[in-house]
Symmetry: C2
Subunit: 275 residues, 2 copies
Amino acid sequence: MTVQTTSYTDLLSASAHQVRAAIRSGSYTGHTSGLAAGKLQCNLAIIPKRYALDFLRFCQRNPKPCPVVGISDTGNPFLPTLGHDIDIRSDVSSYRVFKDGALTEEVADITALWSDDLVTVALGCSFTFENALLSNGIPVRHIETGRNVPMFRTNIDLMPSGPFVGKMVVTMRPIPAQQVEQAREISARYPQAHGAPIAVGDPANLGISDLSKPDWGDSVEVKDGEVPVYWACGVTPQNVLLDAKLPLCITHSPGYMLIADVAEYAETTILPPKN
Amino acid sequence: MTVQTTSYTDLLSASAHQVRAAIRSGSYTGHTSGLAAGKLQCNLAIIPKRYALDFLRFCQRNPKPCPVVGISDTGNPFLPTLGHDIDIRSDVSSYRVFKDGALTEEVADITALWSDDLVTVALGCSFTFENALLSNGIPVRHIETGRNVPMFRTNIDLMPSGPFVGKMVVTMRPIPAQQVEQAREISARYPQAHGAPIAVGDPANLGISDLSKPDWGDSVEVKDGEVPVYWACGVTPQNVLLDAKLPLCITHSPGYMLIADVAEYAETTILPPKN
């Protein structure tokens, strides 16, 4: 079978539904940054049902790194509150499969792994507040320079739940000192996307020893007149899930997100039913 | 044993901790409206573990009537993310006990009913945004007139989850026409307390036939120049729980809320751990 290939550029003005269709058919296999502008993009955690209650409690107790935006019924691959036709087995372009805490494969479709025992939890991501910062004239260095956001382990304890425990991961964005308060106010409007910063200023206060050496992502410059600002990061729940060594856990690959039909600035992440 | 009696007036300047202590000891048995000013008050649903995942999914899918602000560990009567010493078996002044969907008793302590199988879910309540409306100069009729807020069944379908299904209940507050937009903006800041209104104006659009005949609470006058404004109501999950006819379900009695140590205007409802 020949699959038509769709390029990133082809999809720049496509709807969320069209991007998902291209991903589902296998014709688009790339990342989702900048696609389906204005729509919510989501981190994914697909886990066995017996861990779902503890994981939802964990997310409720750690809402800044783990904002829940959608939960599937057990064994049901559809997510109608996030999109009318989302099939989580095929609508993400790259998945990571972990068994007992170890990465076993990276795949473009998880239909073969799906079972009646799995629950999908979708979590908000930083794209939402970054778009809001940019549209309010606040620069975002890693986007300007075409890099990945720098991420750091911190010494901040998470609130535990069952097997889920660990330290918070944060992202860092250098913000001009006179715009820090505005950046705080803007991001605070999006609790489904990590909300307000968790800290501003000296990285040592968070147990970060060197801002030029992120634990994940790329280093970015903090220029004169700028202050490092730290937001809770969606890598936090992924680390916690891995440390818990679940027999099976499926996530998206970083940057290859689930695109929802929900508007990223909507009051809730729940799509009204189609009539 | 003689129990010292504490009056409502005695508690008007008491802290959340002091009010809970008076309730726990049995010396205060009244409602909590206006007590521990500035602290979050919560609706309660205490249910067997096997229903907890479906109920949390239900709340996530219906965030306006069912804003989750705290979840206990299974069988653990403490709620450390809401308050450092909350014991849910004794810290609410009046509980309603339902078996198979029928009210069986109203009690001041549920220690005898507690079991390793129970999960407490705390939900935000309208006190938070009502206080914010009042402090911004927007009148709240039922408070001015010493009544209970009028509540109405609507024709709005809830998003189902497992055994939990039904129609949304709303509260109605008459707001001066020129302040409706301001009331919307203010309440939208509190997603943990029902957020922005779900409708404004004609009650027929919600399937409400007569605004002077609420299904619960008291009727209030809509004066010339005022518009009826409808918010999602915390009675919604209580009705849904009763209709699901769980073998056991414990709620607070209306107006007799759990008082948390969390500030009602805090960004999240999660109290930092005590060091």
